[in-house]
Amino acid sequence: MVSAVFHSPLETSVAPTAPTDEVATKSVAAHAISTGATDLKGIQKPAKAATPSYDWRGLWLTVLPPVFGLILLIGLWALVSISTSSSIPSPTETFKQAVIIFSDPFYRNGPNDQGVGWNILASLERVAVGFGLAAAVGIPAGFMIGRFEFLSRMFNPLISLLRPVSPLAWLPIGLLVFKGANPAAIWTIFICSIWPMIINTAVGVQRVPQDYMNVARVLNLSEWKIVTKILFPSVLPYMLTGVRLAVGTAWLVIVAAEMLTGGVGIGFWVWDEWNNLNVKNIIIAIFVIGIVGLILEYALIKIATAFTFEEVKS
């Protein structure tokens, strides 16, 4: 243990120098004779051997601030709890309650009393269906609007008119048309997630660099190759941004929609616990909604970065 503590400052001072050496050798090798590529490998090896020294300070900076943030949140929460003489439950009580709830997330005692796991799954299912339908309609629609000026001029005013409307305003229409709470909630999700997908896909199609299309023309590529090798890959990052925005909005809206429609779902659960005056469960629900939203967002950012490539600098 002691040796590890003594070693760490030395290692951190070594670590920053190693990467700069590597960069220098790389750039030298790149500008050297083309056969220098074999030398490049030889030079890089010793530099790589020096890098495994662990970057403790970096770890410190990534772990400590979020921990402090969390402590601040819990501290404020505890203060509020004390000052309201525990009408807002304290963090410890809530934690104990959370342990009880999460020890059995998948119980069923009738339609209005189900485990938190079922509620989350029900909400996710609605989001998935509504969102999936929106993607199935919105992405092709975005491609068409981006590709054809006429359609763009035709639909842009409609989109501008309808996009600012709160998705919940569409809920009564959904209830009327589909005659059921569940399809109405899905309809609401569909409406709120379709706009970012249409708009982002259309913008992506409009921004395919003319250079790439010229390459396609000079190489005389087939329509299929143009779509698969040029259009789709260059639109993909825009499309994924649309998907990410759509999922974020959908997850925001589902809670509100379920409060109104009832049934099973995390939003209904919040409302139900409010009717039971069970504030601990409401706070737990807030954390659960936040964490699920965070996971959805993170997963989509990971997917998006995997498909994003350096744009050509003109």
């Binding site: 790149a30 083309s34 250079d211 390459v215 000079v218 590529l221 087939s222 190759k225 490539f309 050509v312």
Partner: protein
């Protein structure tokens, strides 16, 4: 002398918001097979417009262009273009970028020459060979974002050469590179062109580049309504060596002729509009 590219009475007018803009007027030029022709002139003189016309990316409003006695009515792989900003597809590796063109040209049976379609292994061998020619075998599996600007431009040249074009069209191919990398690529291009006996039309704004590489330098007058001012034949023996040429009286004379045209007779006047 065999005429390979014939440009006759070409005029190019663009429609702009301020009304028609005449970029080129009455352009006549013949390029022989195996010639290296440089188009030089001040910016805005329509060099790139003329190259795009030869490439078939745009069509002239007047006049006609022929390549090997066939009218140029659109772009095609027999007139490969090396773009100014390399225009590699960033989601494909260097190999895949080159392979895309190779597959299109040699992957299906050719109607004009009757050549049968080649197997995947043959297509791959072609791609590897051309990458080796530009010295990029080691970087074949890298994406354009991971290599230097000079290497990207080499992939662009490899992609064009791999299609075995009748004419290689280059639009300021080395304009975005630093002087050292540019010199190195010019030397490589000289060597490749000597080996492949390609017909090349290159747009440049670099006098030394034009004299070093070309057999003919086409000097263009200032736009709008630009045309060809003068064609200078460069009769320097090949292979050319930039160090030997630096003291050559003949080289300096050609250089002076181009500079004289550009800076004395076509002194660039900034447009008032």
């Amino acid at each position: 002398m065999e005429k390979y590219i014939e440009i006759a009475g070409v005029e190019q007018v663009f429609k702009t918001r301020k009304g028609p803009f005449c970029a080129l007027q009455n352009v006549n030029l013949n390029v022989a097979k195996g010639d290296f022709v440089a188009l030089i002139g001040h910016s805005g003189c329509g060099k790139s417009t003329l190259l795009n016309l030869i490439a078939g990316l745009t069509l002239p409003t007047q006049g006609g262009l022929l390549c090997a006695n066939r009218e140029i009515s659109g772009p095609g792989p027999e007139r490969a273009v090396v773009f100014q900003n390399h225009s590699l597809l960033p989601w494909l590796t260097c190999f895949e970028n080159v392979y895309l063109g190779v597959e299109r040209v040699f992957g299906s049976a050719s109607k004009s020459t009757g050549a049968p379609s080649e197997s995947k292994a043959q297509l791959k061998a072609r791609t590897d060979a051309v990458l080796a020619m530009v010295g990029l075998t080691a970087a074949a599996q890298k994406r354009p974002g991971e290599i230097s600007g000079g290497m990207k431009q080499r992939v662009g040249i490899a992609r064009a050469l791999a299609m075995e074009p009748k004419v290689l069209l280059m639009d300021e191919p080395f304009g975005a590179l630093d002087a050292l990398t540019r010199a190195k690529l010019q030397d490589e291009l000289l060597e490749i062109v000597a080996r492949t006996q390609s017909t090349v039309v290159m747009v440049t704004h670099d006098v030394d580049e034009a004299v070093l590489l070309s057999d003919k330098i086409v000097m263009m007058t200032n736009g709008p309504s630009a045309t060809i001012g003068e064609v200078l034949s460069v009769d320097l023996p090949r292979p050319r060596n930039r160090i030997e040429l630096a003291d050559s009286a003949q080289y300096l004379q050609y250089r002076k002729a181009v500079i004289d045209f550009l800076y004395t007779r076509q002194a660039h006047v900034e447009k008032a509009a």
